[in-house]
């Protein structure tokens, strides 16, 4: 049944949310106008609060409606049809919610609502001017999902559009406008991953959090409170920096685990689009702290805090307007919202720039010239380096925008992103990393002490000496294991080690004072570890699946071409650097079982989600299914069992890289890696190609053998014994009927590794003969039971063979990648500690602009 009510309710809620946002913006503006900070026009304020509450309620209502559509499989709606399907588990239904553009806008809107409520509750004094900005942003964001056509202009794209209104050309709707599809087309399989349940909300919370300091900065400029906004802005920036940073790294981890480009970061425009604002946000945070503790850098803080939010808007424009076109594989589909996005971006750029310029002269500056012994100088340089790094990524990522802009002016431009993006970005970002690692160590050491030549030399001697020793040792070890050591790597290792040791030293010294103060040092330590992890895992990523067979198809370019993939025949071990690797079969995921189940144990049925057990399914000494039981399977993914045996130690481990053939998406084979984690390295493997499963196998001509029970024959290099002729049982999923006469041959075929039972079946039903052949996929063999000669006791079997199954595999070693992940956790922890410390701090009267060089300065 077509249910239009829920969609109408949802759409109505969108309109209410939109209108309420306009009302809230206007009334908050009126409430704050001509009033000093802290007081507001009471009646306007009441109206504004009411409007924002209505807005919030409407947003919740939109979310409930949309989730209801997905959860109840209401495929009459385009959103459910294109993002969900019947067999999707509940927790992935949550990911369906934000797979589409509209849903992700909704997620963003939702976080703004919650943050708005938090500001109304905790930042009373600032409510009216800050919330005016908030409501204004909500007005623009809700317009993106409005889905209303005014004067032939489409405003926003509604998530509540019916399928028949989306696919207006589909013939089925001409026949029956009330047609409802029975199943959806499903969630992109790459997104069926637990990280995709938590990564997008984290990232969008990070997006939303950048609005808070921005709104405070704007409110400060507007109300001429040019210093007071810093305190609340720091707290919110700390939360934002942590959430956005962790959100980005979650995305990186997901990419590492799920995509097959062989790493965690690909410099894809979509990734860059969030990396840029994060760098600027962190730089801005440093400027804010500089002002609060040392009364310098306020203008910088204004510029950076405002830029962060504008860059988030620019990122939204980049990823959602379709401007990236060929440049990115995973930007959202173009919904024709580019005009709206440009207006949104331009409105806030103009508002912010005009306000900032008009108040620029009144922003207090520090009179004091900074010297080399002022930590402020080094923190400031660090923030500058972050901004330069952001600038570099921005310049390159925007290349498609230049093309579009020049095209708009009528100039044909054919600029393309650098052909080797990784080399291009690394060239700059590596040096940014060097500077950050060095400055993070130096800045932390200097921040906590009074600095002059002597004290600085004293506190730096130990870390510097240890760094040099450590770097020398690292170089020796790298050489010892036969890896090259480029000069830039030496510099980065040294800087990274210094960052680690100097920050560890700072933490140790702060232990004696108050451990709570060390949040900054912990964060910086995390960053330095991350840099070392990136250097080791990316710089020394080692492809272990180099083709060593010596077989090369073309010798045209033998000299410098990497041949990174290796072909593995089923059950034949191949040498791969220190390992013997073998591919030993295809497996399915069976819900409720601890391990994957071999395809050979299962008969597929007409229902693709059900299979029948051919043999006992036993795992960890527990029998889960008996012969003939029906079990549920997840058919979309095939897991390829790959065994690694270390030739030196004799130890082995098993990986199950998965692949899925997805015809609906038109994307062919989607392969995801499997990763074996050791403390000091990961072994990362993914499937590159498998024999095309959509093509019928090429079987050889059937060769007949006449056998008696007990006879032995050679089949395709394996020998086989006909042990018995026995009645066939229904249990094997043959679909027998009463009165059928069914017998089967019982063969034992000896393969390379194990023996296989093969049971070709011979059925007589109503004097008609049926033959059900049996296949051993491992050996590329098929046997059929062709005839019976009861008088002589002889049986005829047909044998045909095919090419054996194979996979093409790429495998690499990622040394010390755990440094990256543990560094990320430390960074997050440091942010949290700083936040906690900030909360416990007694409220200080906002000091007038003065410079205080104090040894007891608080947290960085």
């Amino acid at each position: 049944m077509l249910n239009t009510f829920i969609g109408d309710a949802g759409h109505l809620s969108v309109i209410v949310a939109f209108v309420a946002a306009i009302v809230a913006t206007y009334s908050y503006f009126m409430a704050a106008r001509n009033q000093p900070l802290g007081s507001a026009d009471a009646s306007w304020l009441r109206l504004a609060r009411g409007a924002f509450f209505v807005h919030g309620a409407a947003v919740f209502s939109i979310i409930i409606c949309l989730f209801n559509i997905i959860y109840n499989h209401r495929y009459e709606y385009h959103y459910a049809w294109s993002h969900a399907s019947n067999h999707l588990p509940v927790y992935y239904m949550i990911s369906c919610f934000w797979e589409g553009q509209e849903g992700s806008f909704l997620l963003w809107i939702f976080w703004h609502v919650l943050l708005g409520f938090a500001i109304m509750r905790f930042n009373r004094q600032w409510e009216a001017p800050v919330m005016a900005v908030f409501a204004g942003v909500q007005f623009f964001l809700t317009s993106m999902i409005l889905g209303v056509v005014v004067l032939d202009m489409k405003i926003g794209s509604s998530p509540f559009i019916l399928l028949r209104d989306f696919l207006t050309d589909a013939p089925v709707f001409r026949l029956n406008p009330n047609f409802v599809p029975t199943d959806g087309t499903g969630l992109n399989p790459l997104l069926q991953n637990y990280w995709m349940v938590i990564h997008p909300p984290t990232l969008f919370l990070g997006f939303a959090l950048t609005l808070v300091p921005f709104a405070f900065a704007i409110a400060g400029l507007w109300k001429n409170e040019l210093t007071k906004w810093v305190k609340p802005a720091i707290t919110w920036s700390l939360v934002g920096g942590a959430v956005l940073g962790i959100g980005i790294m979650m995305g990186a981890y997901w990419a590492y685990e799920t995509l097959n480009f062989g790493g965690f970061w690909n410099w894809d425009p979509v990734e860059n689009a969030v990396y840029i604002p994060w760098l600027v946000l962190v730089a801005g945070l440093h400027a804010l702290v500089l002002w609060q503790r040392r009364r310098t850098g306020l203008r910088t803080a204004f510029v950076l805090v405002i830029s962060t939010f504008l860059l988030i808007l620019y990122a939204t424009f980049l990823t959602r307007s379709g401007v990236l076109g060929n440049a990115s594989v995973h930007s959202f589909t173009d919904l024709g919202l580019s005009g709206q996005l440009i207006i949104y971006l331009a409105a806030f750029v103009v508002l912010a720039v005009v306000l900032l310029v008009s108040k620029w002269k009144h922003i207090p500056v520090s009179e004091k010239e900074l010297t080399t012994y002022n930590p402020e100088l080094w923190v400031f340089i660090g923030a500058t380096v972050l901004c330069l790094g952001a600038f570099q990524v921005l310049v390159t990522t925007s290349i498609p925008v230049y093309n579009a802009f020049l095209g708009f002016l009528g100039i044909k431009s054919n600029l393309a992103l650098p052909a080797d993006q990784i080399a291009h970005y690394t060239k700059f970002q590596l040096w940014m990393g060097v500077a950050i690692a060095f400055l993070s160590g130096l800045g932390q050491v200097m921040w906590w002490q009074r600095n002059d030549k002597e004290s600085l030399t004293n506190s730096l001697t130990v870390p510097v000496v240890l760094t040099l020793l450590g770097a020398a040792l690292a170089m020796l070890l790298v050489r010892y294991y036969g890896h090259p050591m480029k000069p830039v790597y030496i510099v980065l290792v040294t800087a990274g080690l210094f960052g680690v040791l100097a920050n560890v030293g700072t933490i140790l010294r702060l232990l004696k004072r108050r451990i709570q103060l060390s949040g900054g040092a912990v964060s910086h330590l995390g960053i330095a570890l991350m840099l070392l992890g990136i250097l080791a895992s990316a710089g020394y990523s080692n492809i272990i699946s180099q083709n060593v067979s010596g077989l090369v198809y073309s010798k045209d370019f033998p000299e410098d071409v990497n041949r990174d993939n290796v072909l593995l025949w089923r059950n034949e071990a191949a040498p791969m650097q220190g390992y013997d690797v073998s591919y030993t079969g295809q497996y399915y995921d069976v819900p409720g079982l601890p391990e994957y189940v071999n395809k050979d144990l299962l008969f597929r049925t007409d229902d693709e989600f059900k299979a029948i057990a051919r043999a006992e399914v036993k795992q960890n000494d527990r029998v889960y299914y008996k012969v003939g039981d029906t079990l549920e399977i997840r058919p979309e993914n095939t897991y390829y069992r790959v065994e690694y045996k270390d030739r030196k130690t004799g130890k082995s481990f098993t990986l199950y890289p998965r692949a899925q053939v997805n015809e609906e998406m038109g994307e062919g084979l989607l392969a995801s890696p499997d990763i074996k984690k050791f403390w000091d390295h990961d072994i990362y493997s993914h499937i590159s190609t498998v024999p095309d499963p959509s093509k019928e196998k090429d079987w050889s001509k059937v060769k007949e053998h006449v056998l008696a029970v007990g006879d032995t024959i050679y089949l395709n290099d394996y020998f086989a014994v006909l042990r018995a002729i026995e009645p066939a049982h229904e249990s094997a999923g043959l679909g027998l009927k009463p009165g059928d006469l069914a017998i089967q041959g019982d063969f034992i075929v000896s393969g390379e590794k194990k023996q296989y039972h093969v049971h070709p079946v011979f059925v007589v039903r109503d004097k008609m003969i049926g033959r059900i052949p049996d296949e051993v996929e491992d050996l590329g063999l098929r046997l059929s039971f062709n005839n019976v000669d009861p008088t002589k006791g002889k049986f005829t079997f047909g044998v045909s063979t095919t090419q054996k199954d194979y996979i093409i595999l790429k495998a690499m070693e990622k040394p010390f990648i755990n440094l990256l992940w543990s560094g990320t956790l430390l960074m997050g922890l440091g942010f949290l500690m700083a936040l906690r410390q900030r909360k416990q701090e007694p409220p200080r009267p906002d000091a007038p602009a003065r410079r205080k060089q104090s040894a007891s300065a608080q947290v960085a």
Binding site: T182, T185, T333, A416, L417, A419, T689, D692
Partner: protein, 141 residues
């Protein structure tokens, strides 16, 4: 000169350096004719080429060469660029599984002798919404 001025000058210098280097690294969308000219001049910078795969009357792609059992890292095909110039392309990696379905192909690489050696292939598949039929649509009639 104050230190802050020095800092600003350094920043500007680095920013200009970034712009100049980026301008040098930027690649271009070119035709095969231009790619050949570049190679003939001895210029080995990598370029982007956009093209389509030639198909016979049965819509099968012509000229694909991939034989994994001989060499899994050798894939060759013919690409016809927007000016209808056909060029043999070699890709030293396995054949992307969805290659057969793609309508438009973007390759990066450079001409070497008389073949184009690609190191990246970006496939533009028919949009998710165009090719998809509605499942169960026939059953409902």
């Amino acid at each position: 000169m104050k230190k802050s001025h020095l800092l600003i000058l350094t920043v500007i210098a680095i920013a200009i350096g970034i712009l100049v280097t980026t301008a040098g690294d930027v690649s271009q969308y070119v035709s095969f004719k231009e790619a050949r000219e570049l190679a003939a001049e001895g210029n080995t910078t990598k370029v982007h080429v956009v093209g389509r795969l030639p198909r016979d009357t049965q819509k099968n792609i012509m000229g694909l060469e991939y034989n994994p059992t001989l060499d899994p890292n050798y894939f060759a095909f013919t690409l016809v660029d927007t000016n209808r110039i056909a060029q043999r392309v070699v890709y030293f990696n396995p054949k992307p599984q969805d290659f057969d379905k793609s309508e438009q192909v973007v390759i990066t690489g450079a001409m070497r002798n008389d073949v184009f050696v690609a190191d990246k292939i970006l496939l533009k598949c028919p949009s998710k919404y165009v090719e998809k039929d509605i499942k169960g649509a026939t059953a409902a009639r």
